[in-house]
Amino acid sequence: MSLSTHDPADSPAMSSVEAGTLPAAPERAIATRQRPGLIELLRRRKILIVPMLILAAFVVVGLTAPYLAPLSPTETALGMKLTPPAWLTDGVNARPLGTDQLGRDIASRIIHGARVSLMTALAGILLSGAVGTALGLLAGYYGAWVDALIMRGADMTLAVHIYILAIVLAVVWGPGLGNVLLVTMFLLWSRYARQARAEVLSLKEREFVVAARALGASATRIMARHLLPNILASLIVLSTLQVGFVIVLEATLSFLGAGVPPPNPSWGVMVADGRALIASAWWVSTFPGLAILLVVLSVNLVGDAIRDQLDPRLRRL
């Protein structure tokens, strides 16, 4: 076999575990290799079916919210305000989880809120994953001052009081999803950068990278075609562990008034709506919070299990 055809993706030896990295699967093999893993995971820990079903429901509800929700999430009906849930006296079946202080249907708002959470989680993780991975590749591949600058930047983000940053941005530009994504990116890129950098450091001295460099491949090509495919699997695992974090962050910022602005149905905004009513109309805050809890707990349970499955070294932690 000549060196020019020695593509790392073809060699099973390249997907070994080294220096604390997760088993790296080449890009095109991920779909086929992850699926048996997931089924195997379910067979070993049957209880995981519950959080997985909750997550599936969350995604479906988020995608189809406008068709699924019986009522408008923003239309007010003051005559119906603070109707209790259907099973209490004074509750009506058309408003299963009751209404808020403007008479809006809480169930419909939670269904639309799933869309906000789902979109924030997807966009936030894709954006910070892309930025963080790119910077981590650069830091790991070039080393020296590029590495120093990027990693000190990563350290700095941890020292930033994130709520202050978020609220100041909201004051300056007005609250909105853009701010939430910016803050998410500011917080999360360093996690991807650290992981990508650590793996690149161990990969870049390997034969296939040295060979590519000897053949005259450009730095960009080496990073994009040889290094990135090999670290992608572990970055996907890292992402599953961030989903819950992003959903809670969006809800918290929205609760503080620095995220999605009312009357949009963000779960955080809904909990904030009911804050002053906690003594008289408990359902306004309780149900949206339960939705956050269910989704985030499920995603954390599944993410934890996937991490354990793929990295036996972490199973004890």
Binding site: R152, G153, D155, M156, L158, A159, V160, H161, I162, Y163, I164, L165, I167, V168, L169, V171, V172, R194, A198, G244, V248, A251, T252, F255, L256, G268, V271, A272, G274, R275, I278, A279, W282, S285, T286, G289, I292, L293, V296, L297, N300, L301, D304, R316, L317
Partner: protein
């Protein structure tokens, strides 16, 4: 050791410098200070004069240099709202947040350490799984909602505890549980993994061989050694708790720095916000520095190998 010490301190200073850059950009983003300091009756001459006094007519790089000089001298200006020293405004509120943070930290340890120990001893049993879920629950509960639910249960329904404010020891209970639960998962994981390591050590085997009762072996011999890694991490957890207090203080009307953040942003009181922003940054960076140096002091491998920075 000296070389390691120097390199870590340099790193901390660079990080701190980057932080002031963020603080400066943030302050400039929030708009022209002249709009806040001068009222509608001021003339164009007033504005030019004021800009000169504040150095706002100079190039942006010079403005940053002036800003940095003032910060290094501890000169943060006066609060726009109270016209008093911004620094003392923050310092007056800090004790409240420190008290709440300490109480929360204790709650967190009281929950996390026993669970960490028990889940390690009863590894791979139902108790292990239950402990894990309890800790994950803390990470999944949004703080603001947990606070409201605790108010609903213990203040509104049962009427056992106050719903907010300060005044007695009872006022601490709900806020510190709310704030403390979030860090339980992290501490628990550390204790559990340290316990698993320690339980396999020879001195534990020896203690058992001597015929010591199992609780004595676990809670005295093993725990005493397993508690070191979580404790070194404590400083960083504590700063994270203080920063997280913004949400808890909002829910429980707690008069600490977190509330001050919200009030100051509402009033656009930027000198005060900047101090809090930098204060938390300095606390975080110095806690990390102390932890790293303690590790290096305890473990020669870190200080002797190049680039031996502790990675979390």
């Amino acid at each position: 050791m000296r070389r390691y010490l120097l390199s870590r301190i340099t790193q901390a200073i660079v990080t701190l410098w980057l932080l002031t850059l963020v603080a400066f950009v943030m302050a400039r983003l929030t708009g022209n200070p002249l709009d806040v300091l001068l009222d509608a009756r001021s003339t164009e001459e007033d504005r030019v004069a004021m800009a000169q006094v504040l150095g706002l007519d100079r190039p942006i790089a010079t403005q940053y240099a002036i800003y940095l000089r003032d910060v290094v001298h501890g000169d943060f200006g006066n609060s726009f709202k109270t016209r008093r020293s911004a620094l003392s405004t923050v310092m007056e509120r800090l004790p409240w947040t420190l008290e709440l943070g300490t109480a929360s930290f204790l709650v967190s340890l009281l929950i996390a350490v026993p669970i960490g120990v028990v889940t390690a001893v009863k590894r791979d049993t139902a108790i292990d799984v239950a402990g894990k879920v309890l800790a994950l629950l803390g990470q999944s509960l949004p703080t603001f909602w947990l606070g409201l639910m605790l108010i609903l249960l213990f203040a509104v329904t049962l009427e056992w505890l106050p719903a907010g404010g300060t005044g007695s020891l009872a006022h601490f209970v709900l806020p510190s549980i709310t704030l403390g639960w979030f860090t339980v998962a992290g501490i628990m994981r550390l204790v559990r993994s340290a316990m698993l390591d320690t339980l396999g050590e020879e001195f534990v085997v020896t203690a058992r061989a001597k015929g010591l009762a199992e609780p004595g072996v676990v809670w005295k011999h093993a725990l005493r050694n397993a508690v070191i890694p979580p404790l070194t991490y404590a400083g960083v957890v504590f700063v994270a708790l203080l920063a997280g207090a913004v949400v808890t203080e909002t829910v429980f009307a707690w008069p600490g720095v977190g509330q001050l953040v919200i009030e100051s942003i509402t009033f656009r009181d930027f000198p005060v916000i900047q101090i809090i922003f930098l204060l938390f940054g300095v606390m975080y960076i110095s806690m990390n520095l102390v932890v790293d140096l303690l590790y290096a002091w305890a473990d020669p491998r870190i200080r002797l190998t190049e680039g031996g920075r502790r990675r979390r």
